[in-house]
């Protein structure tokens, strides 16, 4: 009971890297894949090869990867409009993602969903979501389903600082808590919802995670740009959830380096300051993690470069795959309205 009222602020010791090497490599490669993928999205979008909206995850990679590296393949995940990172972290294939973003038939959703709706049911990815807070109920239900079927599966619900003010959060958090469901509510606090500062519209003393106290669930405030801290928090909370001890709220403090979506202008000229952005750029999760791997003797500069080359190539191949894939046949428009 008292646990729920305690806010645990987690920030790992920069000096050490207390995770096994294969896991560190996986974390690093996934984070870099997200970064390179998002850079490619920016490019194809700017070239006019992709339509709709592109909400880039650049800067937040440690959050998705830190959490998902604590999950099993059959655990569930609900994502958001800013979902590319979550999908890659959970094992989504970059070629099928890129094809989906271009509306091509080889995309995950046969071109019917696009960037805001990519799903891979076989990986437990119940979908990105165009509705802020839209995945909260679903994650709660997936956790209920896992619990009823006795599978030990957990559900992770990613959402932004903006979504914590949706009524769906209260309803889902209460339900998950009162039924002790294995849900990790993961708030990625990047400090802005579109062009509005979270602090201007969110009634908390300091942390969004304070809200958890109202639902009798533990809360952690985590350095969301530190993959180790995020991962360790997630491991502990996943274990707790699997043991039937119920949901938690994890707040990953982070920052998006780009605008809300591609093409919406320069944030530093309008709603945020260059100083603030610079502070966060200094905490870029990817070089930070690379430095720690090097310090731990896991990799050297040359190897980091070769990892980057491999990943960059994989992303280029994904773009080529997507470019080559055709649009769906017009007749597909009426397929899949019903199962």
């Amino acid at each position: 009971m008292s646990e729920s009222l305690e806010l645990i602020t987690t920030s790992s010791d920069e000096g050490t890297l207390p995770l096994p090497e294969p896991l560190c490599r996986e974390i690093y490669e996934k984070m870099l894949t997200i970064r390179r993928f998002e850079e490619a999205v920016l490019e194809v979008y700017t070239q006019g090869l992709m339509r709709g909206l592109a909400h880039l995850y650049i800067g937040q990679e440690a959050s998705a990867v830190g959490i998902c590296s604590a999950l099993n393949d059959d655990d569930y995940l609900t994502s958001t409009h800013r979902g590319h990172g979550h999908l890659i972290a959970k094992g989504g294939k970059v070629d099928r993602m890129m094809a989906e973003m271009m509306g091509k038939v080889d995309g995950y959703n046969r071109g019917k969903g696009g960037t805001m709706h990519i799903a891979d049911m076989s990986l437990g990815i119940l979908g990105a979501n165009g509705i802020v807070g839209g995945g909260m109920g679903m994650a709660t239900g997936a956790a209920l389903s896992g619990k009823m079927r006795g599978t030990g599966q957990v559900a992770v619900c990613f959402f932004g600082d903006g979504a914590i003010n949706q009524g769906a959060f209260l309803e889902s958090a209460n339900l998950a808590s009162v039924w002790s469901l294995p849900v990790l509510f993961v708030c990625e606090n990047n400090h802005y919802g579109e062009y509005t500062a979270a602090k201007d519209v969110t009634a908390v003393r300091e942390h969004v995670a304070e809200r958890a106290a109202g639902f009798d669930m533990p809360a952690m405030v985590v350095d969301g740009n530190d993959a180790v801290a995020v991962h360790q928090t997630a491991v502990e909370m996943v274990e707790r959830a699997r043991a039937g001890e119920g949901p938690c709220l994890i707040e990953n403090k982070t920052y998006r380096y780009r605008g809300h979506h591609v093409g919406d202008g320069d944030p530093e000229k309008t709603y945020r300051t260059q100083e603030e952005t610079d502070t966060w750029l200094a905490k870029d999760p990817i070089p930070r993690f690379a430095r720690r791997m090097m310090k731990a003797g896991m990799v050297d500069e040359a190897e980091l470069e070769s990892i980057d080359t491999t990943i960059t190539k994989r992303v280029e191949d994904a773009v080529a795959f997507a470019n080559e894939s055709p649009y769906p046949e017009a007749g597909e428009v009426t397929d899949h309205v019903f199962a």
């Binding site: 995950y108 959703n109 019917k112 969903g113 979908g127 559900a155 769906a168 019903f338």
Partner: protein, 333 residues
């Protein structure tokens, strides 16, 4: 060959359908506000908790969006939830989860996901419940591709359609008229009685006019048909039973025979079910029509509380009779 029958109420039909499906399939479960211990505010789910236990029959918090969302999530991951929304008016609070999530998951994922969610909720005025507990909002979800909608008028239809809905791999909604829970009627006494969606039922045969009626308005239409019979007008009553999918064939065949049609439904008349049906009939049965298609819905006012006001807002048999008469003579309507 007629099937053996039993008399049960509309409410008992709900309970039987849920219980039979829960016995058949361990992934079916039922949740809603006050549905377990209390057996629902209309008492139609009494006994389910005793038989199936609290894991599968769940009292939820008063969180329509939350429980609908949980239903969607459970349905996406291998369960077959039945979610009850106590009053159909409250479904407005869960709309995002139905309209933007459940209805679109299969399509948006290119067929990867299916959402075997059954929603039960109520419609119908007539008990002085005032404007927030009396509406018939069936047009709202009938408007949404990806949702199937049933609107049963009898215990047998309710039982058969609800069982089909629970087995369907898609989001389905059953609109139950709360005024009819006590209505008794014959239900085929066979194991596994189901009714397919998209098959209308001719509730009464006739040759001069087609009355297309839904839910409680079927009973209004049947009474009006008796009255019209005395005047020498033979009315056929067609109950679509499901609004989505809609069995236009049966309606068009009836109009082909009668050459006249009146549509009656308890929802607000403007932009609703009657408008859709009338336009489809005008379009698809134009060649057979000898008169314009008429329609009767609820008055376009919030449902009033006072017994002195409420009845006139709902279509009734007198209005229906007059409307039909107007198609034959120059009776002012």
């Amino acid at each position: 060959m007629s099937l053996p029958e039993r008399q049960i109420t509309y409410g008992e039909a709900v309970r039987e359908a849920i219980a039979e499906e829960m016995r058949r399939d361990g992934t079916v479960f039922f949740m809603g506000e006050d549905v377990a211990v209390a057996g629902g505010v209309f008492k139609v789910t009494v006994g389910l908790l005793d038989e199936f236990g609290e894991d599968r029959v769940r009292d939820t918090p008063i969180s329509e969006a939350g429980i609908m969302g949980a239903g969607v999530g459970a349905a996406l991951t291998g369960m077959r939830p039945i979610v009850e929304i106590m009053f159909g008016d409250f479904i407005t609070i869960a709309m995002d989860q139905i309209v933007n999530q459940a209805a679109k998951m299969c399509y948006m994922t290119g067929g990867q996901a299916s959402c075997a969610l059954t929603i039960r909720t109520t419609i119908g005025a007539g008990r002085s419940s005032a404007a927030q507990h009396s509406q018939s909002l069936q047009a709202w979800l009938s408007h949404i591709p990806g949702v199937k909608v049933a609107i049963p008028s009898t215990p047998a239809d309710l039982k058969g359609l609800l069982k089909t809905a629970i087995r369907d791999d898609n989001p389905t909604v059953i609109y139950e008229d709360k005024m009819m829970y006590g209505l008794k009627g014959p239900v085929p006494d066979v194991e596994d009685y189901t009714i397919p969606f998209g098959v209308a039922d001719i509730k009464r045969e006739g040759s001069d006019v087609t009355l297309v009626a839904t839910s409680s308005m079927v009973h209004t239409a049947l009474k009006a048909a008796d009255e019209l019979e005395r005047e020498g007008i033979s009315a056929e009553v067609v109950d679509p039973r499901t609004l989505s999918p809609l069995d236009m064939d049966t309606i068009v065949r009836s109009v082909e025979k009668t050459s006249r049609a009146v549509v009656i439904d308890e929802a607000y008349q403007s932009y609703g079910v009657t408008g859709e049906l009338a336009s489809r009939i005008a379009d698809e049965a134009f060649d057979y029509l000898d008169a314009p298609v008429k329609r009767l819905g609820a008055m376009d006012v919030p449902v009033p509380f006072s017994p002195g006001l409420e009845p006139q807002t709902i279509p009734d048999e007198e209005k229906l009779v007059r409307t039909v008469q107007g198609l034959f003579h120059d009776v002012p309507v």
